[in-house]
Symmetry: D2
Subunit: 404 residues, 4 copies
């Protein structure tokens, strides 16, 4: 039998660190003894626990400690972080520390240094006195890569104290909850974020356009409720198709009927932009006078259109290289406080991968699968709402504009 100790500190009840630690030890077939325990008397107080972990052998106990560490348990000894050099470009040394999406610090030169740009499944690079989180694709041969858990501290987010959609919901909203109050709460979250100077990103799928949501989303942008837009080629193409011809995929968005020859409209829309050589130019030339892309340009909103193998065209602003697109998305969501994902599995999961766990995230989709997959892949902070964006978005827009 082998033994190691871990410490838990801070809001270990609010952040659910304590129960998760107990669960994990038992999941991994370990044993434990609580050596010391001081619970904050009041809910604002910090708590402290020292727990002795026992395993079958050193490897077993190390595995358990390593897993606990990812969830906020720390080794009591304060030791310097350890690193190794990257053996090659895009290559990580054995034993590298793989990041969580929680706030993370390393002990470097006797100081706790916060890791910048934290994101799950990446490596921590030590660059002079800075610690930077980098995806494997950006790792260069010879960079100092953190290995092991020594000198690394992880701080999972606390559960929000204020009454909010995030507290109210338990990670997954069944379609059997009162719709009106859910929309109210999402609207309030958006308003509150903007009032406190926060930044909001919207992640959109083309169903937004097909269901007639272009004008509603455009109105949110126009009124300052969107700071970043993440989408694919299809959102832009059909938004512009709608602006130019009143259709989406050839279906008239007023009548719901397919327009004669309408199946060509999205290709006409692409052709039109191609002749202007960019969406931006087309708007400047006055070709496009409404819609999501129009408002993005007018309000100078940052948008990233990421390419996919399903694209027609694609439009000139679309970043067809997926690695570059991912980088641009990563850049765009820095300092974002709230992310609203609607009707896209691909872009929602891709964005979820890049988000730190403290960023509030709402995902609205008619397919419960999208929410399940987001959570399964580690974006556990997401609040999933199973609803029909075609009716949800107009209602949400109305409430945001009315209540703000």
């Amino acid at each position: 039998m082998s033994i190691r100790e871990v410490e838990l500190e801070g809001h270990i009840i609010d952040s659910r660190v304590l129960p998760k630690v107990f669960d994990l030890i038992m999941d991994m077939d370990g044993d434990f003894e609580v050596l010391d325990f001081e619970i904050g008397k009041e809910k604002e107080d910090e708590s402290y626990a020292k727990i002795q972990i026992r395993g079958r052998n050193q490897g077993h106990v190390d595995d358990i400690v390593s897993e606990l560490h990812r969830h906020g348990a720390n080794l009591p000894e304060i030791e310097e972080v350890e690193y190794e050099r990257a053996p090659a470009d895009k290559s990580l040394p054995r034993g590298f520390y793989s990041t969580t999406n929680h706030q993370t610090y390393i002990r470097y030169n006797n100081e706790w240094v916060e890791v910048e740009r934290i994101e799950m499944d990446c490596a921590i690079i030590i660059d002079e006195n800075k610690a930077i989180c980098k995806p494997i694709s950006e790792v260069k041969e010879g960079e100092k890569i953190v290995v092991g858990e020594k000198g690394v501290r992880v701080v999972p987010p606390e559960r929000p104290r204020e009454k909010s959609v995030f507290e109210f919901m338990s990670s997954h909203v069944s379609p059997e909850k009162p719709s009106n109050s859910i929309i109210d709460q999402v609207a309030n979250e958006i308003i509150k974020t903007k009032k406190s100077g926060g930044k909001i990103a919207f992640v959109l799928g083309p169903a937004i356009i097909h269901t007639g949501g272009s004008k509603h989303m455009a109105s949110l942008i126009k009124n300052g409720f969107a700071d970043v837009l993440l989408a694919g080629n299809a959102v832009a193409v059909h938004d512009i198709e709608n602006a130019l011809y009143g259709t989406s995929l050839g279906v008239n968005l007023e009548t719901g009927e397919p327009q004669a020859e309408g199946h060509k409209n999205h290709l006409y829309a692409i052709s039109e932009i191609m002749r202007s050589s960019s969406i931006e130019n087309a708007i400047e030339q006055g070709k496009i006078e409404k819609g999501i892309m129009y408002q993005c340009e007018k309000k100078d909103i940052e948008y990233v259109l990421a390419g996919s193998i399903r694209d027609d065209g694609p439009l000139p602003e679309v970043i067809t290289d997926t690695v570059k697109a991912q980088d641009k998305m990563r850049e765009a969501i820095q300092d974002v406080d709230l992310v609203v994902m609607m009707a896209t599995m691909l872009h929602s999961i891709a964005t979820g991968n890049l988000l730190p766990s403290h960023v509030k995230t709402i995902c609205v989709d008619i397919n419960p699968d999208t929410v399940t997959k987001l959570t399964d892949r580690g974006t556990e902070q997401v609040m999933g709402i199973v609803s029909d964006v075609g009716i949800f978005l107009p209602k949400l827009t109305e409430k945001v504009l009315k209540n703000s």
Copy 2:
């Protein structure tokens, strides 16, 4: 090789009989020759076709003809219908004619007699000069049961000519169609049906109440847009829970938050009704002053609350015997022109089983499975809309009341 002839008559193009006949022959590995074909010159004209079916042997060709017959192909000879006596109660003779849900006639005493109360998967009983469709559960020993296809004619419905939700939709509405125009069309269908003196049945699941739809549905009833209500115990219990305590399953429908001790409310609601010994009495006594059940009683709307093994209580008006409940439902939907099903798989499929194919049927559910199953089980006329009833119903109600 064996040979038989069938005739097709009437609007065999509009009703899609012709293409279905060709398909079926090929599906069943048969061969055919078109002996005679006169197509209606204009779309209003009737057409006529005589087709020779060839099969490997008599059994094979009979099987094909039998299948074609169910889809509207007739034998050219006009012969009297044949029948046998039911061998026992709830028992059918070998070779009995199993009904489709299409309009059906039998040749009896040299006259074409329409089969009353047509419904799929039943038997035709000859009672004096009448032909009545009966489920196996109602068959009595000794009754005259139609056997074989001789003297039976099936008339599948034509596709609707007027512009309507039924023409516009192709059996299944993806959640990627313009929401606004879909709701408009359903609203128009409801208004049109009532304007022309038609009868509308609503089939509801409890999610209607949980999502805050009680007042909207109540308003549709109050304003005369519902003639029949089919639901289960849970709809009534939670509607009354909402009327009495403002909650559904303990969740406050205004704030969306669970009410303290709210989980007892549905049992209080049941207790309250039990003390009045019926919903009707409770309303008369002034205990309940709003909601779906209240409006049903006030407007004297026919409702059937059918029991299920999931029920708490159940309320006194609930018909706990499923055979009796089915009979009541069957009774209630006679002469209905439009059925709107919302958020219930069990009651939607059960009602679908009882409906003739010419009754317009709309099914709104967030789970596409409900629509798929309805269609798979033979309710092919259903127009499925995959949406969130929590937002769909208020919007629909608003449109119906505004446009009517």
Copy 3:
């Protein structure tokens, strides 16, 4: 501000009582101070906590305590339980204690008495020195009904210690987990339960028959792995249809092709049974020689066929009164140790409603909705597996028979 104290005792970490209590207080906007805390040193030791709850006023703090109580927190004072008389048949007094599905005790005549037949959303009746859990439908005027939480103790189940499918899974198995090992673990759970003398109930939907699973399920029954069968009319009808004609809903189960005239087969099957006046007689008369119903009769397995409004027939053994059917189901699952639900939403939820929380429950369905709804409705112990029963059941049967 008002104040009350609660105590937590026992395996409050294993049973997740402690974290849930902290969460609930914060959810309900309360405040707390931990007055006393002794954590079991080792994982087998019991722990103890005394927590002071603070609320805005007496009502608020009472609401919080009441909610905590349902999850295993107790009032420190040991007081006698309180009761009131039922005001009418099927009617509960104001303030009645509404049961959870956890093991429950009442303090009556200075003794802790375990509540018999515990099941969620019911009342506790005191009958001489016994405490019995009863659904509202069985409550008689004048019976002693427990009110308030005084003298009531709730003991939530601990998480299982042994390695098992229940530990391995986190309530919901995504279809992205290794299929082979999941089936292995379910098979092991079945084998283990039988080896230790336990009782297994199967809850089945008709898709089991339509996908060709009749012989596999029959084989599990024949080999002694099923003690109770819960299903509806359709399972029995199509199982017998298959035994008599080799089809299910007219589709040949070997070739997968619809059989000519096959759509009549299920009505022939019903007719056949009706002429024998029961399934049991038909089997005795040698009409049926294989399948699920055949094995149930041969092995004298208890089965409950509960009626629904979708039924054709129904067969004589089907209990058409849903209240009586529910009672029979309740009876049948007493002392069951493992429940395996497959491909039925209605019967799974109905059975889930009746189960104590300590009964291990597995639900296999291709529709993730079934699992979500089961959990949302309080059957939190369920382990959901999203898979295709058509391939899952044969594989499971093979493994159970091979490994046992």
Copy 4:
């Protein structure tokens, strides 16, 4: 009122052209008269119909004819195709002919020329005496682009005559069909295709690996049943993770349990490949000795790994530019006879977009949405099977290997 005539020729019943034409005219609110009609006496004979279309005005009737044309109706006059020059790169002239995915011919220099590389939503380029289908992204300024429908003939596929999975299934297989016979039929289709010298493409999602399917798919490749593999980075990464460490996303594929530190394995796998600078090299160096990628390299199977914004790494062989990836996929599926798609929405829809309608296509997914979306987007030939690939693929592999 305006009038135009169209002709239908060939197997207009088998190909369902005739009924579709009648439907479309009525959908579009037109009128018609059948001027001439000769139906093939026997099912092998060709038929002929001349139909007069009437509309409200010239525009209306043109719209109708234009729509009919896309479904195989031809103008009776044989006229030369018309073209215009592309106004710019990636830009199409007004009125360009937008392709269907059906076999298409143009009348050029008095000859019927078949359009090469036909694919939906593209343009037809005339290049000397050849007609080539090109996506808008490949159109160059000045190229001759076909406009209007004059001189264009579309030949929709006939329904297959032989008994096969495609005839048996009606576009969507519910999970309530006999599983065994479905797998048999898919296996037979694969065997038959290879026996007749055909080419099979597999389109795979990572769930194939997570559910333990790597070895089964590898075995299909090894035994010559796959000619082309289309997938994303994740399939390759996790297949290699499994080959190197026995895990997929850190989960041990034998035991189903998460491996300690396993969450790093996919990044180790990427690192390993990066150090070899390609999958190919890593295999040559003996690092990888089993799995899908291994067999692809050993059997020299063409594979396309297309990048997406969700990728980690990505691996060197992944084509990160989505336009280039699409081109490679387009190239790879030329002359493919059968496509089997499993567990991926993105790659299935992307591949479906590129396929001519005569290529047999099977899609297996647990999410019915994938199949619905494929069909909604025009890949109407797809046969959807809602099942669990984790159990489906091993069973399919077993049958293919045993029966071939």
